[in-house]
């Protein structure tokens, strides 16, 4: 009975949504207002204006950089949320199921992970640094970095990872995302420009492009390192269990 009412209500909502979807301009047509209003400028001048061959990187770091600052703040907030609920891991009081399990992890897994992790980290760095030219960017690379930490923890144990990644350094790196934006954005502010402006007119024109690349790179590395550390910290905080 209760289920029936829910299904009926949800069905009504579906009809509402579908009526909206049907009235939208046809998908995939270049005449759509979404495609003809702002996009032409991004596609035509984005490479020179924003300083990245990958227009998406140009948009997320330059045209809509403020949104991305919000995004890195959201993941920082999520980490703080997880810490507020569960607390930091502490080897004196905590261990994990991985460490406690009596099943010996197989040699093959250990060998493969040991061999692969350096390459995974290399790949992550490539994705972070090459984001302006190809698909990828700070956060994708950061997620892969975080995943490599997860793989290490699952094969070599919880306590090893916590020892290798001391809390003091992690606390600093977790804030790297917003800090990268702050450092790059404030330079423009001091030169009398708006926040997050990367082209500094008072510098000789030959160096302007270089400085912009440098500032964008700081942001990318900040997002990547910050994102990766946050994912690792969230994982460790959720994985821990109290010692008996």
């Amino acid at each position: 009975m209760k289920k029936g009412i829910i299904i009926f209500a949800v069905f009504l909502f579906w009809l509402l949504l579908v009526s909206a979807m049907v009235s939208l301009p046809p998908m995939g047509s270049p005449e759509n207002p979404a495609y003809s209003h702002i996009v032409p400028r991004y596609l035509e001048e984005g490479v020179e204006e924003a300083g990245a061959h990958n227009i998406i990187t140009g948009i997320i770091l330059n045209y809509r950089g403020y949104d991305t600052m919000g995004e890195v703040t959201v993941i920082l907030t999520a980490l703080m949320g997880v810490l507020a609920v569960l607390g930091r891991e502490n080897l004196l009081h905590h261990t994990s199921k991985v460490d406690e399990s009596t099943i010996e992890r197989s040699v093959i897994v250990k060998c493969v992970v040991r061999l692969l992790v350096p390459f995974i980290i290399l790949f992550a760095l490539y994705i972070i640094l090459h984001g302006a030219e190809s698909p990828g960017g700070g956060f994708q690379g950061g997620a892969i970095l975080g995943a490599s930490v997860i793989a290490l923890t699952l094969t070599f144990g919880f306590s090893l990872t916590v020892k290798k990644l001391p809390l003091k350094y992690r606390t600093v790196f977790e804030s790297a995302g917003p800090l990268g934006f702050f450092i790059s954005g404030v330079i423009g502010l001091f030169c009398g420009l708006n926040f997050l402006t990367y082209i500094i007119p008072s510098v000789a024109p030959a160096y302007q492009d270089l400085i912009r690349h440098l500032l964008l790179l700081i942001i990318e590395i900040g997002i990547g390192v910050g994102g990766g550390t946050i994912i690792a910290s969230v994982f460790l905080a959720m994985e821990k269990v109290g010692k008996e």
Binding site: I127, F139, Q140, A143, I144, M238
Partner: protein, 81 residues
Amino acid sequence: MLRSLDVLLLIFLLVTAIGVVCTKDLLGAAIIFSAYSFTMAIVWQQLGAPDLALTEAAVGAGVTTVLFLIAISRTVRREDE
């Protein structure tokens, strides 16, 4: 615009979504959810968004699923418990 592969993928998306809803075993549901995310990544690749496909594969199918798995291992495995 629509190609047969796209239609197939979209229908597969619906099937996996219903699969997530109907599976009583949470571990199974998490794995199906991972498959759902991967399918979504492929759909986005087809729509010309490789950046998003990369992100969804790493975050949606990877990190989110791992988080679900930890939560399931720390709590319950059956839906009715």
